[in-house]
Symmetry: none
Subunit: 131 residues, 2 copies
DNA sequence: GGTACAATAATACAATTATACAATGAGATA
DNA sequence: TATCTCATTGTATAATTGTATTATTGTACC
């Protein structure tokens, strides 16, 4: 799967998994009916105990985003409509940007460093039509 | 472990532990990825309360030498991030930015949308010192 | 003596893991 | 078809790890 964890930032692993999967569903990378990796498979990928993944799946189940079924697996239920409402779209972009900046800061970069790189690449994006 | 304390010395115990572990890391007796003894194990060895060891571990964590993870343990980290001017660092920031923009584009945003949000959040980052 | 503060300890808590368990379904076999 | 077997799935519980909060101890200063 397409999930990366940060073991250093003191955000519980199960919370990180929940948030990443919520994001993948909201951005329609994961669509209704899709099966998530089994708890053991994802746990192996992430080098984590499968109970930690199971805890994340249970929270997503209770939130109504997925359905977990013993012996069968875990499946995406519904996609939150991000493309519909402009408000949700704005929130998605803000969250994405926030995540990007936080990661840059964690790597020790300063606002000027980031600003410089972003401006350069956005300029190219405008010129070439694709980032 | 290979730590000895001097209880007659008036240097606080947690400071002594911090210093000893810093030394063990500097001399590569402890290498990146190595797990430190659990707070309770080391505390038992040193005949000290485990909160005192936990305090030392927390300081080492904040100093970036180790990573403490609740439920998992405490691990020696890679050597500290290199200076801001290395080619490797610049490449990392560029890759991170590229990834961010690609994701935004995939969600259907335009360069102007992204530029607007990034500038706003970077401005706040400058003002508040943290993104 | 009394007060303030830092260091240490006691206790309760939360995250993660280890282990054993129960439900499901695919394939074998009668 | 029926049902048996067994690998695979999620679940439940207890043990282990670090964290947070509060109490105790010791020391310096007045």
């Amino acid at each position: 799967m397409f999930i990366e964890l940060d073991f250093r930032n003191h955000v519980p692993i199960y919370v990180q998994i929940v948030e990443r999967i919520k994001h993948l569903v909201a951005t329609e990378v994961l669509e209704p009916g899709d099966q998530l990796p089994t708890v053991r498979q994802l746990a192996a990928d992430l080098r984590v105990n499968f109970n930690t993944v199971a805890r994340a799946y249970r929270i997503l189940d209770q939130a109504g985003l997925v359905s977990t079924q013993q012996g069968r697996g875990t499946y995406v239920l519904e996609s939150l409509p991000p493309g519909r409402s402009t408000r949700l779209r704005q929130a998605a972009l803000k969250a994405l940007t926030q995540h990007f900046l936080t990661e840059a800061a964690r790597l020790g970069f300063e606002p000027d460093d980031v600003d410089h790189d972003v401006e350069k690449l956005i300029k190219r994006w405008r010129q070439e039509g694709t980032p």
